[in-house]
Assembly symmetry: C2
Homo-oligomer: 327 residues x 2
């Protein structure tokens, strides 16, 4: 029900996704009266697509605390209940991020030692990718929160196959005195932990590939991710429109631009995973189109198929076992 | 004396700059024993290049409060004194940002109603550019600080010729409830002001050109700017190295890439201006190379030649005259 476009975007994306992922079954949770009409014009295997009624919708501008109190039959809450009850393996939502986090925290249990779920993505950087977290689930973070995110990030990087991932705190400089108090205190906590802490990283260092895990509060991470996506989209558009470079050179470069677009365009990477919960929850951008929403669905499927949460929880336990401070 | 490379990078950059800017005179402030040897291998017009002794250097990792107390004969402070005393029109530094701000605030007077200097740059966005501030001079900002930065940003955009610049607060969503308290409170202040306040903007919206002025705290602005620069540098390198796209397409695209690099590469845009002071102060990236430092020098020269500060102060007075809350 969520996102900027609701069922009219999400339903067709789900139909397409079923075709390209024959092992997957989907449950569409929300107002049947709005979802059914969107399904009418498609042919699909009804054994693989089920509609689950939920009478309420959390608004995109609704306060999470308010949603938590009054929206227990919202599409978001019902979808998470399906995961908690084992009827679904993952929940994907394009809805209100804060409400999704609040409901997820309430419905799915938190991993030991973790107070708040964090959102992460794999950001493409020089010679690889890095785990970036938080992306907006937690706007105000204490040093302890950042410390916990570092453990979540290190665990998920390890679960993705990175050996002793280099964990950095995002900051405005690399010298010890730089940054705000929470970041400085988190650095002290990390120095005394079993994490492979690699110091502060700046915005440019992130893309130079200086870290395998980049830890920051959700406000900063959200701005970093969205501005990067916006910048790539702008560059591709400017190049295509011929506003950068001459027409002749642009014509020669057209095939490269098309390839580039396929490789780096943001909707191909849409979908931020929640960490710290018993269960797979993926948040799609509110403004994602159908292709973008399918990327978020694919991210959830990959996480389930690879038992990412199980392997991550194992990694987390081993990191926590050796860390001096409470995680 | 500052930056990652000191005089051995800055001195040759200054020599080159004198050649390309025949109307400019430069004063190099710092330890004569370190600067003179860097000059030895160059021929230059000594009436246009003067070395001014300063016995101290502010370290890149030094706390600003400490520098302010103990480094009254630092290169940074002496250079600012030259501007305050009218012997120089502008100060350009690649040194410690926090110390530069603290000394600038102490040495050059603040504009009326402005508590702290802010750093800004002109960011290239779709169909133009936008003023982005703060970039790292103020990491912890109250609503009142953000409100003042909005006035500074609107005034400098107007001084650059933008009529009724659209001022936005950078946030993680565009809905009223989104974001941290300081940002929400700043929005309320701006709604009641004479500023052409255009609401919240997200990171992607910045590059879509949704705002003429983007206001945020220095931590977030620093991350946005540096990560954008890092991303562009990465994309250009990956394209050049042929890791994106095929070799054949890449060969065809080579001329476009060279042009693109010239148009968007970060060092061409190096140099963040301080706002809110009586005087032109430009901060060069600590890691800028010679070409980058020359861009910062050029930015200072343009500001002086166009009387940017004078025109900005006029604009600020007219904005403040009509705003309900104290600026």
């Amino acid at each position: 029900m969520g996102g900027d476009f609701g069922p009219r975007c999400i339903v067709p994306a789900c139909i397409s996704f079923l075709k390209s992922h024959p092992a997957v079954k989907l449950v569409l949770v929300g107002e049947v009266g709005l979802i059914r009409p969107c399904l009418d014009s498609y042919r699909f295997d009804s054994s693989r697509l089920h509609v689950q009624t939920a009478s309420q919708v959390v608004g995109m501008a609704e306060k999470p605390s308010r949603a938590l109190r009054g929206k227990s039959d919202s599409s978001m809450k019902v979808a998470l209940d399906l995961v908690a009850g084992g009827q679904a393996d993952a929940c994907v939502s394009a809805g209100n991020t804060g409400a999704l986090m609040a409901f997820a925290r309430q419905t799915l249990r938190m991993l030991p030692g973790i107070e708040r779920p964090a959102m992460y993505t794999l950001l493409p950087v020089s010679n690889g990718q890095c785990v970036l977290l938080d992306l907006g689930a937690n706007l105000d973070c204490t040093a302890q929160h950042l410390y916990q995110f570092a453990h979540l990030g290190a665990a998920v990087a390890a679960a993705h196959g990175v050996v002793a991932p280099r964990v950095c705190l995002l900051n405005v400089g690399t010298e010890d005195v730089k940054g705000v108090l929470a970041v400085q205190q988190a650095a002290e906590l990390l120095k005394a932990s079993t994490i492979n802490y690699a110091g502060f990283v700046e915005g440019d260092g992130v893309f130079r590939g200086e870290a395998d895990v980049v830890v920051c509060d959700g406000f900063v991470g959200n701005v970093l991710l969205k501005s990067s996506e916006g910048l790539i989209t702008m560059l591709l558009r400017e190049l295509e429109a011929g506003r950068l470079g001459s027409n002749f050179f642009r014509m020669l470069a057209q095939p490269l631009l098309s390839q580039l677009k396929d490789e780096v365009r943001p909707d191909k990477r849409n979908g931020a995973g929640f960490l710290g919960l018993h269960g797979v929850v993926v948040k799609s951008h509110g403004n994602a189109d159908g292709a973008g929403f399918q990327s978020a669905l694919a991210r959830a499927v990959t996480a389930v198929e690879n038992d990412l949460m199980g392997r991550m929880a194992q990694q987390l336990i081993s990191l926590q076992g050796g860390s001096a401070h409470q995680v």
